[in-house]
Amino acid sequence: MSETKSKSANWLIIGVVLIGGLIYLAYSRKNAPQPVAAVAAAGAEAPLLEAGNVTGRTAPMWTLPDADGKPVSLAQFAGHPVVLDFWATWCGPCAVELPWWKELQDKYRAQGLVVIGVSEDTSLADVKKYLATNALNYQVVWDNSKLMPTYGTPFGLPTTLFINRQGKVTERALGLEGKPDLDKAIRAIL
């Protein structure tokens, strides 16, 4: 490339930043891909879920803070059907599902359903700000990316796990699902 002596602007293509590795597209629950790496977790009180092998396995225990900093443990809900909805305030597809979770929590509350929103926001302040203007009728805990690997799932939001009364993961949904599909998955764990 010849050197220019003028002070005029020089247009140069200097590099390419690849946003690569994003090979995941939306999948239905029946076609969920196998993640590529095994996972490890610290402090799990149950056997770890292997990457991609979650259905039928016992959900690992965890303790995470809620929006007020109070600890919440999965163990508190032993014997209940539980939905873990991994979401974040910056996730548009997640926002579609949030009102559905409110409806489904109300619909199946009497049957013991516990919906838990697991926030992957890096800032608890963002979660608090969101909840201040979008009241939810179910438990929200703040994870900040620590828990998803424990559940053997690639990082994509929303990710939803359905846990039956025996504490076993019956289904995992990666990406935005339709409300009828979520309802059906919940009925299977009641």
């Binding site: 220019t4 140069l12 390419v16 930043v17 946003i19 926002a95 990082f155 994509g156 939001l157």
Partner: protein, 126 residues
């Protein structure tokens, strides 16, 4: 990420360099000024270095795209996105500058976490 070319530029002058962001098909990243305040904007930054100053970052006009999860169109980037960096050079010397693109990508159904993609500029100021 491709290795950058070594760029020659005059001293005490303005230089423009373009970094091209290649976004995989099916994904989009938020524009540098998203319409909704909870969306994470795309940003380019350079680590400060003696002799080179980032004066301005020019993004192309984003696309307006309606997604299944959005009531209104969002401003996003898709495909190959050229980002123009306006730099000011100082005294002669060779400068290797670290830069990064901060972004958050989604498909129509799924979002990946915010991420940072590094790049390097090598500028020979004569």
């Amino acid at each position: 990420m491709h290795a950058p070319a070594k760029i020659s530029a005059p001293a005490h002058a303005s230089v423009e360099a373009t970094v091209t962001v290649a976004i995989e098909a099916g994904y989009h990243i938020q524009s540098n000024h998203p319409k909704l305040d909870y969306l994470i904007p795309s940003q380019v930054s350079l680590t400060p270095a003696d002799g080179i100053e980032l004066k301005q970052t020019d993004w192309p006009k984003p696309e307006e795209h309606k997604f299944s999860f959005s009531a209104d169109p969002l401003t996003v980037f898709e495909g190959d996105v050229p980002v123009r960096l306006r730099l000011a050079t100082g005294a002669p010397g060779t400068h290797t500058i670290q830069g990064s693109l901060h972004y958050q990508a989604c498909t129509d159904q799924l979002c990946r976490p915010p991420a940072t993609a590094p790049f390097t500029l090598t500028i020979v100021v004569r």
